[in-house]
């Protein structure tokens, strides 16, 4: 397959940051096109410096390239200036690895990590010269696939997709390659290939499903209309991550990216059961890597990349059963080489600070982020983010004592049952944290990032009503007023209009596809990039497509209503999610099932899996290291409210 590089090079310097388009990263793989059967183009639909660091894509890239029968290359969405340059010069979308034209690949696989990148998918398809609508594609067009968190409700994107993979890609990507290799050998046509793919567990072929609607326009049902397509597609998840120690050779970008580090996934899944959290719900159960494996992976990745920072990643890294040993040993191993460590964690207590301290021993002190999510304990019980104010004050006190000057805090507004009092509680709490900090040092700074809650599919809040932009704006005003005189506090908030579109794409049904198409045609690009976003454009697209924000976002759904994603499963029992939703309303908390009896969320039996802990005998780790001087241990699990009784 011929390279587009000779055509690209004469126009490349017209683009801003041309290094986005040249590839050539250390550890990139370029294989002989004609020596393999199946050609994958893995696409992250955002700009290069965001997409290239994506773990999921790098994992699949390596797994596929290790196979003899396949190759994988990568593409990202060209920034708006480059889109124009490419159209002008009539150059199609290309892979950055060998600059091969996107349309030549067998599969264009999109990693959907953010709802607002929907229009970037269309840009990629259009630049590739592939018809946007799946039904209009011909035998010479690639199969267009999607996976990633957003693919758990792929319905808004379904008319653009030939197939969707639910859940973890390590295993299905190989099975799909097998199916496509055989299909090509047997000369199957497009329809035949898709029929074969519908037989792979975790693969959803939207065109084999039909939706029906009630007279009032509400969804009546969605189910297979093709023999061989399962009634319900259930996500895939690997039983044990130790079989998949990827990425082994992470890509080393030549230009600056959002994360400049080796990222090691120390566990997957989360059993904290925060009711708003789609990632936490859809990645169950917990599967930890052992301390030995983590150390091995860190050493190998550092050697293979030359990075000088290591991030130990997961949804809540401080919760790993061996985290103290891991932090200590990784810090020991890195101490001599000027390597710094970071550990993003959603946990909020002094233990997290102790860990952060441990991690900064070897080099640069990384930023400290705490995520209380809600301002009042009441609301934290609603969302099941079960931390007490004492935890939070303890964490902040410990951090300032240990030398941090600024802390980043994550909050959300627009949560179910939230009142203006709850919003004001964010400001109150922040002021108390500032005074707690000032008791230790004068120059403290709190950086507040206040997000807007968007109900997501496959969570207990999937039935919840999303605040309107007007409601969110009023809450944002309140916060701004209350914190305007706090010089130690910086406040960051998202435009509410953007949040509404995210909600539309998160819980919409197939009819939202028309909205996306129209918004894209009106010029929607990089909608997640603030300055590119136009709420007015999306409102117009909705009006033209006859789709209402009120219907999809701003109403509470009925218990028995058909949800657009009911034919897709993350393994969670819908009844359990409903009970959790009710429990939220009565402020009952749910414990972590690693330390408490099973409460039948349904995932383990549905997938034939179980929580896999590196140290099965471990109890929740707590702050207690005398060096921190905390005095008493802070319980990991703070059950502030009544226990859930069914």
């Amino acid at each position: 397959m011929e390279s587009l590089w000779p055509r690209l090079e004469p126009v490349l310097l017209k683009a801003r940051k041309p290094a986005r388009y040249v590839g050539g990263e250390a550890n990139q793989v370029v294989k002989d096109w004609s020596a393999v059967d199946v050609h994958w183009l893995l696409i992250f639909p955002d700009v290069y410096e965001v997409g290239v660091t994506n773990q999921g894509l790098q994992i699949l890239y390596e797994i596929l390239n290790e196979r003899d029968d396949a190759l994988a290359e990568r593409a990202y969405t060209p920034w708006t200036d480059m889109e124009e340059i490419l159209r002008e010069a009539d150059i199609p979308l290309f892979s950055v690895d060998a600059h091969r034209p996107a349309r030549a690949f067998d599969v264009m696989g999109f990693s959907l990590a953010s709802e607002l990148s929907a229009t970037n998918v269309l840009t990629c398809l259009d630049l590739a010269g592939v018809p946007l609508v799946a039904a209009e594609r011909g035998e010479d067009d690639p199969l267009v696939a999607a996976g990633g968190h957003v693919a758990f409700n792929p319905e808004p994107m379904s008319r653009f997709l030939d197939f969707v993979v639910l859940g973890e890609g390590e295993e299905p990507v190989g099975e799909i390659t097998d199916v496509l290799r055989e299909a090509k050998r047997r000369g199957l046509d497009r329809e035949g290939k898709l029929r074969a793919l519908a037989g792979v567990a975790g693969v959803y072929v939207p065109r084999f499903y039909a939706a029906s609607y009630h007279e009032d326009g509400r969804l009546a049902g969605i189910g297979p209309r093709e023999a061989g397509a399962p009634d319900r597609v259930t996500k895939r998840a690997v039983a044990d991550l130790s079989a998949w120690p990827y990425p082994r050779h992470p890509l080393v970008p030549l230009t600056e990216t959002v994360h400049e580090r080796v990222a090691i996934e120390i566990f997957r899944g989360c059993t904290r059961a925060c009711r708003f959290c789609q990632a936490g719900m859809t990645t169950r159960p917990v599967r930890e890597r052992s301390r030995e494996r983590v150390l091995e992976m860190v050493a190998r990745a550092l050697g293979a990349t030359g990075f000088s920072e290591v991030g130990l990643l997961s949804l809540s890294s401080a919760d790993h059963t061996q985290i103290l040993t891991i932090a200590r040993e990784v810090a020991d191993a890195c101490e001599s080489g000027g390597i710094s460590l970071s550990l993003p964690s959603t946990r909020v207590d002094a233990f997290s600070v102790q860990l952060a301290e441990e991690m900064s021993r070897s080099g640069r002190r990384s930023g400290l982020t705490l995520a209380p999510e809600a301002g009042s304990e009441r609301l934290r019980r609603v969302i099941n983010k079960t931390i007490s104010e004492a935890d939070l004050l303890g964490a902040v006190d410990a951090a300032f004592r240990r030398g941090w000057r600024q802390i980043k805090l994550y909050f959300m507004i627009g949560l179910p049952t939230e009142t203006l009092d709850d919003v004001a509680a964010i400001a109150d709490l922040t002021r108390r944290l500032v005074s707690a900090g000032r008791a230790v040092r004068r120059d403290v700074r709190l950086n507040l990032s206040v997000g807007c809650f968007v109900p997501k599919a496959h969570t207990p809040f999937q039935w919840a009503r999303q605040d309107t932009p007007e409601e969110l704006a009023a809450k944002q005003r309140l916060l701004r007023e209350q914190l305007s005189r706090e010089r130690a506090v910086a406040l960051r908030m998202r435009p509410p209009e953007e949040v509404r579109v995210e909600g539309l794409l998160a819980r919409g049904d197939r009819r939202v596809g028309e909205v996306i198409l129209r918004a894209w045609r009106m010029g929607a690009r990089f909608d997640g990039w603030g300055e590119q976003f136009s709420g007015e454009r999306w409102a117009r697209a909705c009006a033209e497509a006859g789709v209402g924000f009120d219907e999809i976002c701003h109403r509470e759904r009925d218990r028995h209503e058909v949800l657009a994603w009911d034919h897709l499963s993350a393994g969670l029992d819908k009844e359990w999610m409903w009970r959790e939703y009710r429990a939220a309303g009565s402020e009952r908390v749910r414990e972590d099932c690693r330390w408490s009896p099973c409460y039948d969320c349904g995932v383990c039996p549905a997938l034939g899996l179980a929580n896999l802990l590196a140290d099965p005998g471990a109890r929740p780790a707590v702050a207690g290291d005398p060096r921190i001087g905390m005095g008493q241990a802070t319980a990991l699990m703070e059950t502030g409210g009544a226990r859930d009784v069914e």
Binding site: A19, Y21, V22, G24, L254, T255, G338
Partner: protein, 233 residues
């Protein structure tokens, strides 16, 4: 060899590596050095980082046969081995051409790299003669100012004082090559500034195909002398 040997390297930047900014190149070099397990000396203090120093920046999009950098090692390593190890880990387009230990008391790179020789390949729409007459006209002047647009806004710069020599020739493929010896000034005068001037003097704007730095070093009476990497030579 001293216990913290200082190694000077000459680096080529070609092909797709020419799209790396100076900042990108620095980062890429540091990572390549780590991958190659070159024993780098680290700075003391709270943010330890490798001791790497660079000569002046090359504009984005230019190739080079003569970028210079110096690194300090934490223990001795044979320069030939260092070159082999580093080149084996480099991304496509970067290559160390030579390396040698320099005495600790040698002057800093910045003071040695006083001028550059550039070759600029130009697409010629209206004949090479125009360029030649432009070169003659420019050299005949004592001073010449160009208006240049930079990301920070437009500015006017005097460029004639940076020009040590200009030569033009046409190759078989029909491209015209301009060879420019430029003195390093602050702010820097770049080869594209010279082309801008020639374009203005002849009324015939020039389309640049490629700019390549072919040598860098001290400025002597006879022009720019390529800085040797090895000491004493």
């Amino acid at each position: 060899m001293s216990s913290s040997p200082r190694i000077r390297l000459r680096l080529a930047k070609r092909g797709r590596a020419r799209y790396l900014s100076h900042h990108d190149l620095a980062r890429t070099l540091e990572r390549s050095l780590r991958r190659a397990r070159v024993p780098l000396a680290l700075t003391q203090g709270f943010h330890p980082h490798p001791r790497i120093s660079f000569g002046g920046a090359l504009a984005l999009g230019c190739e080079s046969e003569a970028e210079y950098l110096e690194i300090v090692l934490s223990e001795p390593m044979e320069p030939g081995q260092l070159v082999a190890d580093l080149n084996a880990t480099f991304p496509e387009g970067l290559e160390i051409l030579e390396a040698a230990e320099v005495p600790g008391e040698s002057p800093k790179l910045g003071s040695l790299l006083q001028g550059s020789v550039f070759e600029v390949v130009v697409e010629v729409s209206r004949g090479a003669d125009a360029i030649e007459s432009g070169v003659v006209a420019l050299l005949a002047k004592d001073s010449f100012k160009v208006e240049r647009s930079r990301p920070g806004g437009a500015s006017t710069q005097e460029i004639r004082s940076a020009i040590l020599s200009l030569n033009v020739w046409r190759d078989e493929s029909g491209y015209v090559t301009l060879r420019a010896e430029l003195r390093h000034l602050t702010p820097a005068v770049r080869p594209d500034d010279v082309l801008l001037a020639i374009g203005q003097l002849t009324g015939c704007p020039l389309e640049v195909r490629l700019i390549r730095r072919i040598a860098q070093g001290p400025v002597t009476a006879s022009g720019v002398v390529s800085l040797p990497v090895a000491q004493g030579s």
